[in-house]
Subunit: 501 residues, 2 copies
């Protein structure tokens, strides 16, 4: 049976090669490709995705899996092998439900939607995006039906993005958050004058922002020997192996937060992938467990580390070095308060910690209604405006800052937003566990010592790759399952203090 | 039958997608990948190459081809279809002779040889490269035997690089060139003081070299909307589609020619690929015919255009703009003479036009002897030194400037050097034809008008992709087959004038 297991692994490795190759093509498309290359690139990526899917869903893989599962009871101690079979079974059962035709059609619909979205953004009109979006919604309903679901269609998409999650559980979590956050946002609104962020709205030349950002992400532990940082329109992280992790960002010369916190955020994703055991590279175990656990890492470094007072105690001198005019007179306290400014705003990726999850609630509710057929794609902009008003008290002046802002719907990613909220919530669960295990985190960070925290995350979750489930990782590392209480406690304490509530 | 043809084309398109994807991974590996990514990257590329080979050599492709060939007599007017079938048959018959195992082993041997070559270069010792090189030589013999050959084993490799060429024909051509060039090099050696190139050996800061080079390649016609230029250790060109053509170079701050002429050279390759009809993208017709025709384009722009007096008449003011100290006092005549300095030198890619083909003769003769078993890999450095002395009168001080200089043997490329010489020879055949068709080329170039020449090349060869053979292109565009006479006439006239012989 050793040979049969090796045979399975070898097949899975080539599937991984094809999938990673598609990611490399996508990275190039977003970083360096001349736009005219788009058409051929779309075809090349479609072929890679189709080929990977066909190879993974080949009957031989199903036979190997079944055979190896049958005899895995004889090997109770081989955790790694059992984990690989479990994860492969999960992925396989999902993949075989999608026909090659649907996989190819989804890939092409995504490419078309991306092109339409870009054009629609230029014209600030959702109408230009609508036909492509209708096609995506129709195909995502087909996909959900093909995958199957316990309660409602949207469950299938939520589970795909976040294994084990359902629309119902997500709703419960979001309601728990909304009950605290909506009134908190309103209360802060009464006291907006408490925090001055004009410090961050000066002119910050791009070259120095790159230098400062590189220094910051290197300091916290992103390894440039095993990765790199480039410029793109939309920040992202992608891993071609644990030894080759790419992160990207964009810079706004008029707003310090845009580039800086995106770099830290993406490096959080990147450090997770850099911490995956090298020997699992090319296998289904060799990546992060789920979108939510991934997001917990990026948000932990972005918010709990880089938006802490301790961090600016350590890093403000470096920021002053690159921006002596802009930050020369700023105190640590001023910087800390400025980077934690709270204001209802139109764009999710620029939202502060307090309002962020209300953006997610909005998208979750619209997507769910689309899948239930209670909302038509054409009515999305109106529904968007209504919810923005209800949760944040503001209304988008146009679709660019409304329903056209996210790349997700132009990439066939419906069902994935809830992972961001779960990620925020569990980032604080991991943080609390790190405080217990490592001790004085705030003090270490104030001295620029990030290694104990990174080592805790390496040991507590990175090294497991996908060998444990999200639930198992949470229980093992934090002692409990998913719970919003630490997150809500953190948010309320931090912002009541800052805004003197 | 229309459906069957469409079916064949669709299969070939996905093969092309996989091959181009491998090229994209290779481009990234050489431009931006952190070195630690090498190991995973090698596996990813191997999987892409194996998958492309397996898909191309599938029995269904053979059946489709045979069926469509049988009925192609009924369609005497469909030139495009007949060309596609002819080219596909040529490639298919070669590909099916190579077993999947050999393809994979070659790919892995190349990756290992590349790593060993890099290490050997650092240590300047051929010995470190020898075991990997022995493996490459052994596998190339196996490959040649699998492909089959009319006369001798080396024929198989030469034909693979340059369809229609044989070792015997290559030898005849090289002997014809050697008979003129060896004495010409010696005669120039007597009058070396005639040309002063100290102009080019000043300090040229890298940033300005990039700006000047970009301006030059844009001026001659390389289209940056459909391509880009990056830095690599070894200059190369690679095309992901006619709309996405990448060229690269390296810069030497102490020697102007290194970067500048490499940029022009690679842009010659790039303009060829940019001129391939977009509708053939993804098909076997959608690339350059052969290495030699490719090289004829790069050498034409590099030598006949950018090393002409007219070119510097146009471009010296721009060079002075970026390098006022270095070129402020130089005349067009001095610049022209300096960039055409002739000197026996150790490194092929830095060789001048007169000595260049003697470097090729050396490699051709060593490779042929290796394939015949008359030379052992371990004896290559000695044989190298002996031939350098005999053709150029110099001896490499170490292996770095000797047998370790080219990337070819570390990439499994045996048999391909002759294409450079054929390319040089036919570049002048194309040039003579352009002079007849377009008129006053030198005058146009002196005025910075490159478009008539580029249009001639677009019409005369670029637009045919692989739809005509090298021989057909030559006859159609120049009126004759391969002949060394125009090339030898050009070299002798130009360098007798410069050196006053």
């Amino acid at each position: 049976m050793a040979d049969r297991f090796a045979e399975l692994v070898q097949r899975l490795e080539t599937v991984d090669d094809l999938e990673r190759a598609a990611q490399i093509l996508s990275w190039d498309q977003q970083t360096y490709m001349p736009p005219a290359g788009n058409s051929a690139r779309g075809e090349q990526m479609t072929t890679l995705v189709e080929t990977a899917h066909a190879r993974f869903t080949a009957p031989e893989v199903g036979e190997l899996l079944a055979e190896l599962e049958a005899e895995s009871a004889d090997r109770p101690d081989d955790d790694e092998r059992r984990a690989l079979l479990r994860v492969t079974r999960h992925d396989y059962d999902q993949a075989v439900r999608l026909s090659p035709g649907l996989v190819a059609e989804l890939q092409r619909a995504d490419a078309a939607a991306y092109a339409a979205w870009t054009a629609a953004r230029a014209g600030r009109s959702f109408g230009c995006f609508l036909p492509a979006f209708e096609r995506v919604v129709r195909l995502m309903r087909e996909k959900a039906d093909a995958l199957g679901f316990p309660q409602e269609r949207y469950d299938a998409l939520v589970d795909l993005a976040e294994p084990g999650m359902t629309a119902g559980r997500a709703e419960t979590l979001l309601e728990e958050l909304k009950a605290v956050l909506v009134p908190l946002v309103a209360a802060i609104g009464e006291r907006r004058g408490q925090v001055d962020r004009s410090l961050l709205l000066q002119h910050f030349p791009e070259a120095e922002q790159w230098q400062l950002g590189r220094e910051a992400v290197r300091a916290i532990g992103f390894d440039f020997r095993h990765g790199r940082l480039d410029a793109t329109i939309h920040p992202f992280e992608t891993a071609f192996s644990p030894a080759d992790v790419r992160i990207t960002t964009r810079i706004d010369e008029g707003f310090f937060n845009q580039g800086f916190f995106a770099m830290v955020h993406e490096s959080g994703h990147g450090m997770y992938e850099q911490g995956i055991p090298e020997q699992w590279s090319r296998t289904p175990l060799g990546k992060g467990i789920s979108n939510a656990v991934h997001e917990s890492q990026s948000r932990l470094w972005e918010n709990l580390v880089a938006r802490s007072q301790g961090f600016w105690n350590f890093f403000l001198p470096r920021a002053r070095h690159y921006f002596p005019q802009q930050f020369g007179d700023a105190s640590v306290e001023e910087m800390y308060r400025a980077v934690n400014f709270v204001e209802p705003s139109l764009v999710r990726v620029e939202a502060d910690e307090v309002t962020y999850n209300l953006h997610i609630a909005l998208r979750f509710e619209l997507e769910r209604a689309l899948m239930r057929g209670e909302l038509q794609p054409a009515d999305v902009p109106d529904a968007w405006a209504e919810k923005m008003q209800s949760y944040l008290g503001i209304t988008p002046p146009d679709d660019l800052s409304g329903a056209l802002q996210d790349i997700h719907w132009a990439s066939g990613l419906l069902g994935s937003f809830i992972s961001y909220t779960v990620g925020n919530v569990i980032s604080v669960q991991f943080w609390r566990a790190a405080e217990v295990a490592v001790g004085d985190l705030e003090g270490q960070i104030a001295r620029g010592e990030f290694s104990p925290l990174l080592q805790f995350l390496r040991q507590g979750l990175h090294r497991y790759g996908r060998a444990l489930s999200t639930e198992e990782i949470l229980r093992k590392t934090t002692g409990t399952g998913l719970t919003a209480e630490p997150y809500l406690g953190y948010i309320q304490a931090k912002y009541r203090e800052i805004y003197g509530l």
